[in-house]
């Protein structure tokens, strides 16, 4: 962690625990190599300069990595640009300090979601998954097209197998994931 950071930005909003949660999430899923990588950031801006969304919106990846080091990343929770990243990995590939930016971005979003920051469009994706096992479920016209192409009208996925869908639902409940599909 940047040792000077607290001195500059310590204020009543200071939320060290958010960074800790991001670190723990990365450590659990990806391992140490990812969870500790952001401390190596030298603020060169390669990430921002490489970002397809950053070139056309206010998303500034370099500042998000900086905010991890300054422990102010929670300030992005209610900002729409946190969700402008398409997870294309260009920044992560090009980073000269091997900061695992895209992995960190997903972890930051995880913690934002856990704190209740999530759009209704994204809640709907989770709802589709819970209801059908698919983020993009089948439509009647596609069933007809499938039959015309000689495929089974309903694909051999959770769409066709009720028991499989029950498994997905059970897991989503066990993971406390299904709840995010409800209107926030």
């Amino acid at each position: 962690m940047a040792v000077f950071a607290g001195k500059i930005l310590r204020d009543s909003d200071f939320k060290r625990d958010v960074v800790e949660k991001v670190v723990q999430r990365c450590l659990l899923v990806f391992g140490k190599e990812v969870s500790e990588s952001f401390v190596s950031c030298i603020q060169c801006g390669m990430c921002t300069g490489s970002c397809p969304s950053g070139g056309r919106t206010i998303l500034n990846t370099r500042q998000i990595v900086l905010s991890l080091n300054l422990e102010t990343v929670y300030r992005y929770f209610d900002r729409s640009e946190l969700w402008y990243c398409t997870t294309c990995y260009t920044c992560q590939e090009r980073c000269p300090r091997k900061v695992r930016i895209t992995d960190l971005m997903r972890a930051v979003r995880n913690i934002a979601v856990e704190n209740g920051y999530m759009s209704k469009e994204h809640r709907a994706v989770i709802r589709y998954l819970y209801e059908t096992g698919h983020s993009v479920p089948i439509r009647e016209d596609v069933k007809e097209l499938r039959a015309k192409l000689g495929l089974p009208e309903v694909p051999p996925t959770t769409h066709q197998y009720g028991k499989a869908l029950e498994e997905v639902r059970k897991l989503m409940e066990e993971l406390n994931y299904a709840q995010y599909g409800e209107e926030g």
């Binding site: 899923v29 402008y84 990995y89 590939e93 994706v125 983020s135």
Partner: protein, 296 residues
């Protein structure tokens, strides 16, 4: 005969079944058996569900992986997103005991266990593997070379990145492997300025921010038109969806300026002599009429 567990995902069976049927035909022609993964779900999408909850993402991916483990077969997928999720989750779960224990604890409630005994492949990887098919065998299977057209080859992000786990070991900044495959089928691969840029669909951007996603599609189409592309070819159904459906959402683009989009397996199936109708091509939102006339 080589055998693969065929992971369908969401967009291929539920929006672009033409790509599914093309893949089945192409593999049959090349003598590779595809076995259905009965009861598979959404992969789930790496940048969407992975952004919401990495633990839920890994667990639901692990459930899909256990289906292939039951079949004792490696997975093949036609979507870069499915590929990214299943490949990454498979690696992470094999490597990271703590994560595996957590995920297996959840899977136990539905009578499953991740064992880590299979691999995940992209359809292009399988097609180019000389032990399975390979470029020479693919060339031999072509009965109708698709000459006289220029293709804008779009790789899509997760086909190449993150590079550390990709077994094709292709350059992420200047890839060529897919261009070679496309050119082996007849078209010329035309160079365009946005070639390695994201299609704009991933990370929940398409579902959450239509304006942003559309602006990326528009930049691509402008660059592809400048390069005189007759068609867009991609190895990813999500990119296919983004370009095909996406172009029809763009007010800035006149109808006649839209470029038809084919998945690589549809292009290969056409070159192998299958008819556009058999491959679902007329069902695409951007009509391929002009392209198909050029190819006659």
């Amino acid at each position: 005969m080589a055998e693969y567990a065929f992971f369908l995902g969401c967009l291929m069976p539920n929006r672009y079944p033409g790509t599914e049927v093309s893949t089945r035909k192409v593999f049959e022609k090349l003598g590779v058996k595809l076995v259905d993964m009965d009861g598979a779900s959404c992969c789930p999408a790496p940048g969407v569900h992975g952004s919401f909850s990495l633990v839920a993402w890994a667990t639901l991916a692990a459930r899909n992986l256990t289906l292939a483990e039951e079949l004792n077969a490696d997975i093949v997928t036609c979507c870069n997103g499915c590929y990214a999720t299943l490949l990454e989750a498979n690696h992470l779960l094999k490597e990271n005991a703590e994560l595996r224990e957590l995920v297996n604890g959840k899977l136990k409630t539905v009578g499953r266990e991740f064992k880590g005994k299979i691999e995940v492949k992209h359809v292009v990887e399988v097609l180019l593997d000389p032990e399975i098919a390979g470029i020479e065998k693919i060339k031999d299977s072509v009965v109708k070379p698709l000459k006289g057209v220029k293709a804008a080859v779009h790789y899509g992000c997760h086909f190449l990145k993150p590079s550390e786990r990709r077994s094709l070991h292709e350059s992420v900044e200047n890839p060529a492997v897919l261009d070679k495959l496309v050119e082996a089928l007849g078209p010329t691969s035309t160079s365009y300025s946005t070639k390695i840029m994201c299609c704009g669909a991933g990370g929940g951007v398409r579902s959450g921010n239509r304006e942003l996603t559309d602006s990326m599609t528009l930049d691509h189409v402008k660059a592809m038109r400048k390069a005189e592309a007759d068609l867009i070819v991609t190895p990813c159904v999500f990119c296919q969806f983004q370009f095909d459906a996406g172009q029809t959402e763009l007010e800035e683009l006149r109808e006649e300026e839209r470029i038809p989009v084919l998945h690589i397996t549809q292009l290969l199936a056409l070159a192998q002599g299958f008819k556009p109708d058999e491959l679902g091509i007329p069902s695409h939102k951007v009509p391929a009429v002009k392209l198909l006339e050029k190819l006659k």
